[in-house]
Symmetry: C2
Subunit: 96 residues, 2 copies
């Protein structure tokens, strides 16, 4: 099972993930992606969904038209793990 990242490991990981920040009041990281329109936003979600399903690690996310708010945390570990960092990186690569 993935273990929660140390404060230092998390800080370092976030340093390499532009736009990702700690979610206030939760042991989670989050980012708001803004696209051109719904087509692009849902296209991003579709590609990210395939990656998430393959990783067996799923985001919490909210979509309003061209905006996608993502929150990542590892439920079993009660916090942020390497799996969240990996999914965050994959999402950034998809968003381009």
């Amino acid at each position: 099972m993935a273990e929660r990242l140390s404060a230092e490991a998390r800080r370092q990981a976030l340093g390499g993930l532009p736009g990702w920040t700690d979610v206030p009041g939760r042991d989670a990281i989050g980012k708001t992606f803004v696209f051109k329109d719904f087509n692009e936003a849902f296209g991003f979600m579709s590609r990210a969904a395939l990656v998430a399903e393959k990783m067996d690690h799923h985001p919490e996310w909210r979509n309003v038209y061209k905006t996608v708010e993502v929150v990542l945390s590892t439920h079993d570990a009660g916090g942020v793990t390497a799996r969240d960092i990996a999914l965050a990186k994959a999402m950034d690569a998809i968003a381009g």
Copy 2:
């Protein structure tokens, strides 16, 4: 442009839409769909996204694993219109 439904028209429409309710504090309707797993939840979202794009009327929605929380309102009209009712019906049909 679609006009906001009267209180009576909205009450009648919601009567025919099981699980859809007024969203507290907003002029909107909402429903939480619960599926078997992420595959089914995102499958629903994918089909609903195609319908929404075709209608040019998009939901606010939040997905956490097998759950999809949907909020519908017509921004231009500042409230619930026939377009929201039509999208709600389409989503129910997709969820089956």
